[in-house]
Amino acid sequence: MKFLPALTDCLRQSLERSRNFLSDGLNAVWSLGGVVDEALLEELEELLISADLGADVAREFLELVREEARHGRVSTPEDLRSTLGRFLEEALAGAVAPLALDQRPSVILVLGVNGGGKTTTCGKLAAALKGDGKSVLLAAADTFRAAAIDQLEAWGKRVGVEVIHQAPGSDPAAVVFDAAKAAVARGVDVLIVDTAGRLHTKSNLMEELAKLKRVVGRQLPGAPHESLMVLDATTGQNGLAQAKTFHAGVGLTGLILTKLDGTAKGGIVVRIHRELGLPIKLVGTGERVEDLQPFDPKVFVGGLLPE
């Protein structure tokens, strides 16, 4: 993936905000007594939980700290910090992967629960790929939500990318069918499909998604080349259920973590990655066209830790 070469200041800034939290937190924790005791471990656990890493991941980290302490390797706040940094980076090993863009057209299916940022991400991604010299087509396969098509069309206009769409209420599979045909006819490099938000618990809607996947797959063998689940960084532990169910239902190739410009840290992706091994392909850091970045675990962990 050529596009998005360097991290912009924007991402750094937005992560800066969350950064101080844990570092201040660690110092505060340490000042409790300077020894690894139950009180300190409990505070540590809470620090991790407050970032939505989940009780399981937190408990595992505590085990590690206990172990390190037994060997006398934790005697300063810096030791704690580096132990935590290593732990998280290890937990995220393999979480980086480029977008699969080798085919022509490459089809990217964008899916997830309601309101996570799918449509916005489709717009931003179209712009980024276009900026990279690729020709892009968008497909408005959310025919259900009020004005979802208008919203994607507005994005299409904003970033100068054509949007294949039909009337509201029409069959999303038909839209995808048309879009795949158009993508071939026009010889574009990438087709990005925006789908309707759906809760993973609604089996009929999951089935609809599986059907979309089958429809493009029949037209373009190997497509969709990416099935990316959009996850709002404010999401708590339910994010794991979302990822599991979408993965089981349609087979995900990765995650997109949006809204990292807020105060939530998106720690649930650590748990998701550990359980499902899914890479985090992109992060969203705002509502503007340029607010999309590749995922960088160092920066992500750095958001939780002092450098």
Partner: protein
């Protein structure tokens, strides 16, 4: 996730039951599990800490130790305490003495404000009022169109256009409402971060100039630990009168409800339970408490059922379950009743038995449109086919599909589900022995 949690708690409480009487250590262990359960449910860790202390204080010595069924007693202490903290039910949005009443929505991006604005308007429309919607999100692409589409579907007028300023739109809404005698005026605002000062300032300006009677914070039930920061900032920067929790139709345990309630001290007025304008309900702390704890929402099930099921029919059904003579005809009748109550799967999910055991077969989690399709399919069968579904062979399936405007796959699916339901009913019948009477099942599940 969902099930393991219930099982974990159930296991603990079963173990407690086994002790007969509790020691402080037993409570300790149970409370550790409750703590994990609450954290897993996304209740903020600080709120959890305070909560556990409260429960401990209440449980130790008194209630629990003197009880004959200590396990149940702890569940009850935890549940009651949760309910108390979640606040009363049926918080009403009082109408202003001089109309129009103005209600402003605010919240993070994508939390469900625009949808909730339409749902609120629908709610008041059903009460015989004449609401007006103000589309004051001029930033997000097609936000105004979204509200206009929803208003159009509900025949509720919407003012606003993307070219105007939010304040202008609100002022126009107030004028329109006064001219046409409309009330309440419901103001949809753009999604914004709680750390975005200029955008918070916009809300303050709207509040100062438009003087809403109610400012509602719209929050997503899937929100994690950050719910407290978000709610606290919106509350201190703008001021929150009440809360709407959205997307409770999923399996998020919704611990954010407790967190938000705790940091704002404001009541939760409504919950969103779907994407459609009618998927909106008053908040019930008892249901929310059960949900956060992960125990089947028995109360809610009984309530829902009582509202729409004829008792005699239910008795008859129970009899049929007992005699295993539940036919497709009965199935069609049940579907009609279920349709007035919500998705079958959702209903069944409230019964601890199904949740705890193997859960509900995916096929049984239908939506309304599916139920309607099934009714059509059964409608296209001959009386004999309804009584003896085993005779429905390939050519009959094709005929039924054609007659009902569905596909053979649909017919197959229905028959499969019917078979599954029968199987589950056999399971229920076995449960009867353990759990008491089966009167009126599946609509009167014995309380555990």
């Amino acid at each position: 996730m969902f099930d393991t949690l219930t099982q974990r708690l159930t296991a603990i409480f079963d173990r407690l039951r086994g002790y007969g009487r509790l020691t402080e250590e037993n409570i300790q262990e149970a409370l550790r599990e409750v703590r994990v359960a609450l954290l897993e449910a996304d209740v903020n860790f600080r709120v959890v800490k305070a909560f556990i202390e409260r429960v401990r204080a209440r449980a130790v010595g008194q209630d629990v130790l003197q009880s004959l069924t200590p396990g149940q007693q702890i569940v009850k202490v935890v549940h009651d305490e949760l309910m108390e903290l979640l606040g009363g039910s049926g918080h009403r949005l009082a109408m202003a003495p001089h109309p129009p009443t103005v209600i402003m929505l605010m919240g993070l991006q994508g939390s469900g404000k625009t949808t909730s604005a339409a749902k609120l308007a629908r709610h008041f429309q059903r009460q015989g009022q004449h609401p007006l919607l103000a589309a004051a999100d001029v930033y997000r692409p097609a936000a105004v169109e979204q509200l206009k589409t929803l208003g159009g579907q509900l025949q509720i007028p919407v003012v606003g256009s993307a070219g105007q300023k939010p304040l202008e739109i609100c002022q126009e809404a107030l004028r329109t409402a006064a001219d046409r005698g409309l009330s309440p005026v419901i103001v949809d605002t753009a999604g914004r971060l709680h750390i975005d000062e200029p955008m918070l300032e916009e809300l303050r300006t709207l509040k100062r100039e438009v003087r809403p009677h109610h400012v509602l914070l719209v929050a997503d039930a899937m929100t994690g630990q950050d719910a407290v920061t978000m709610a606290e900032r919106f509350n201190s920067a703008v001021g929150t009168d009440a809360v709407i929790m959205t997307k409770l139709d999923g399996d998020a345990r919704g611990g954010a409800a407790l967190s938000i309630r705790q940091v704002t001290g404001r009541p939760i007025a409504f919950v969103g339970v779907g994407e459609k304008p009618d998927a909106f309900e008053p908040f019930h702390p008892d249901r929310m408490a059960s949900r956060i704890l992960g125990m089947g929402d028995v109360v809610s099930l009984v309530e829902k059922a009582q509202a729409s099921v004829d008792q005699a029919k239910a008795e008859e059904l129970a009899k049929k379950i007992r005699e295993e003579s539940f036919t497709l005809e009965d199935f069609a009748q049940q579907l009609r009743q279920l349709r007035s109550m919500g998705p079958l799967g959702e209903l069944l999910e409230m019964v601890p038995f199904f949740k705890g055991a193997k859960g509900i077969p995916a096929e049984l989690r239908g939506e309304e449109s599916e139920l309607r399709r099934y009714e059509a399919i059964i409608g296209s069968m001959t009386p004999r086919e309804r009584l003896e579904p085993q005779i429905i062979n390939g050519s009959r399936r094709t005929r039924i599909a054609r007659g009902s405007g569905t596909s053979v796959q649909d017919v197959n699916r229905l028959l499969k589900q019917y078979a599954q339901l029968k199987k589950m009913m056999r399971g229920l019948k076995q449960l009867e022995g353990r759990a008491g009477t089966l009167k009126g099942l599946p609509f009167q599940i014995p309380r555990r």
